[in-house]
């Protein structure tokens, strides 16, 4: 999935966004937004915030087109428990909102935000177990 994000300038989206440093900068901002959002925060059990934050890092790395070993089945499995809890498209939209807002806060150019959003969007059916 990430391989197809090669840009014209020979630089991947991940590189353009700033790689691992960008993910590190984004993760606290993104996770704070998610925890503050009453629509979805019940899915993010915060008994171990450290582990949760690490998983959000995995999410962002993937959305940024970075190196990852997740396939569709992994995404299904990772979210199956949440689908049982009632995860649906409106929750997915909320996460997309926070992803966009996080990148805006980090002054990422609009066109790169659109590319990251497209990667995240492409996982919708797997995440929602459809």
């Amino acid at each position: 999935m990430s391989d197809s994000q090669e840009s014209t300038a020979n630089q991947t989206l991940y590189e353009k966004l700033g790689g691992e440093a960008a993910v590190n900068a984004a993760v606290d901002i993104f996770y704070r937004k998610v925890l503050a959002d009453y629509r979805i925060n019940r899915f993010f059990d915060n008994s171990d915030m450290e582990k949760q934050a690490a998983k959000q890092k995995a999410f962002l790395t993937m959305a940024f087109g970075g190196p990852n070993n997740y396939n569709g089945t992994d995404m299904r499995n990772a979210h199956a428990r949440l689908v049982k809890m009632g995860l649906n498209s409106s929750h997915f939209d909320a996460v997309m909102e926070h992803l966009g807002a996080t990148l805006i806060e980090l002054s990422v150019p609009q066109e790169l935000i659109a590319q990251a959003a497209a990667i995240a969007e492409s996982t919708r059916n797997d995440v929602l177990g459809k």
């Binding site: 691992e20 590190n24 993760v27 606290d28 996770y31 704070r32 925890l35 503050a36 915060n46 008994s47 915030m49 450290e50 582990k51 934050a53 690490a54 998983k55 890092k57 995995a58 790395t61 190196p67 990852n68 070993n69 997740y70």
Partner: protein, 325 residues
């Protein structure tokens, strides 16, 4: 080819293999998830050499310092002896040399050891008494020349270990002490960073050690300690803390009592509420939270929401075994 020793077994790591791949190939069960150094499920610890820096990316600084690493992204640069986080190293024996009441509920216990022992103030050890009963207690002093470990132990009504310490343990008794554990401690660097420390009851023990450590290492940023308890029996070291605040301009101390109808000169309210409401934003702060598990978890979340970065929040929740009724 590098060799990897875990427990009694030694395996050889093929070129291009990660530590995780080697162990899984040899049918050693190691938790794992992302296999790309993100989820931290495969956290392990090197017992001899420092692991490759690249295998420590993203780990809390205190864990890096203790040679923790992620097996799924670790290509060994030399032979390694490793352990899972819950596999413990060697224990030592230590002798009780002092026992003293700090409040009617809290005992100050001082142990002396003879063998080499490494620790950071604020880490905890498991104390084992001669019949095997074991509990965790935090180290309240900084490593010095005199080979001692100090603890603040709160007596729980009918608590097996704490009541025994309180009622029966005598000077001269030998206790078994596990290696020091936990990542809630001070590290030098970033000396100007403001520190917020919140502890309830004997949660002051690790914080006391952390503060002593920070001051000994010339931490120059403001250090704000909030110590809380329901009643006066949980507050101690009040004079020591006030003296420390008089000696160091950057150290600030607030004692808080949350119980009702207590006459005292202390601030009324829960320590974490007072702490969080007195600080505008925690962006850029380093935060230490110790003591009651509920307080620790709640405050961790609030501190994060108030701007503290996840990597800058260090916690020690004093989980007590829940006895089935």
């Amino acid at each position: 080819m590098r060799s990897i020793t875990i427990g009694e077994s030694t395996f050889s790591c093929q070129p291009d293999e990660t530590v995780l791949e080697t162990l899984l190939r040899e049918n050693v069960q190691i938790p794992n998830g992302c296999r790309q150094g993100l989820c931290q499920a495969c956290l392990m610890r090197s017992l001899d050499n420092s692991p490759p820096v690249s295998a420590q990316a993203g780990l809390k600084d205190t864990l890096q310092k203790q040679n923790y690493f992620l097996a799924c992204v670790c290509h060994p640069e030399q032979d390694m002896t490793i352990a899972l986080p819950n596999q413990r190293g060697a224990s030592i024996e230590a002798c009780v040399i002092r026992k003293q009441l700090l409040t009617p509920d809290i005992v100050h216990l001082v142990l002396e050891y003879q063998t080499q022992f490494n620790f950071f103030a604020g880490q905890f050890v498991n104390l084992k008494r001669p019949d095997g009963l074991t509990r965790s207690y935090s180290i309240a002093n900084i490593p010095q020349h005199e080979n001692i470990l100090e603890f603040h132990i709160r007596r729980l009504p009918n608590g097996q270990f704490s009541s025994w310490v309180y009622d029966e343990l005598e000077v001269g008794t030998l206790l078994t002490v596990s290696e020091a554990q936990g990542s809630c401690h001070y590290l030098p660097g970033r000396e100007e960073q403001p520190l917020m420390l919140v502890g309830t009851g004997s949660g002051l023990a690790p914080l006391y050690g952390i503060i002593a450590d920070a001051l000994a290492q010339n931490h120059s940023g403001p250090i704000h300690l909030f110590h809380g308890s329901r009643d006066l029996n949980g507050l101690y070291f009040i004079d020591e803390m006030r003296e420390l605040a008089a000696e160091f301009d950057n150290f600030h101390y607030t004692a808080c009592l949350s119980g009702e109808d207590i006459e005292s000169g202390h601030v009324r309210g829960r320590a974490h509420d007072i702490a969080l409401s007195s600080i505008e934003t925690l962006s850029g702060w380093r935060v230490f939270l110790c003591g009651h598990p509920e307080m620790v978890n709640q405050t961790k979340r609030m501190a994060f929401m108030k701007g503290a970065s996840m990597g800058d929040i260090y916690t020690d929740a004093f989980h007590v075994l829940q006895v089935e009724k």
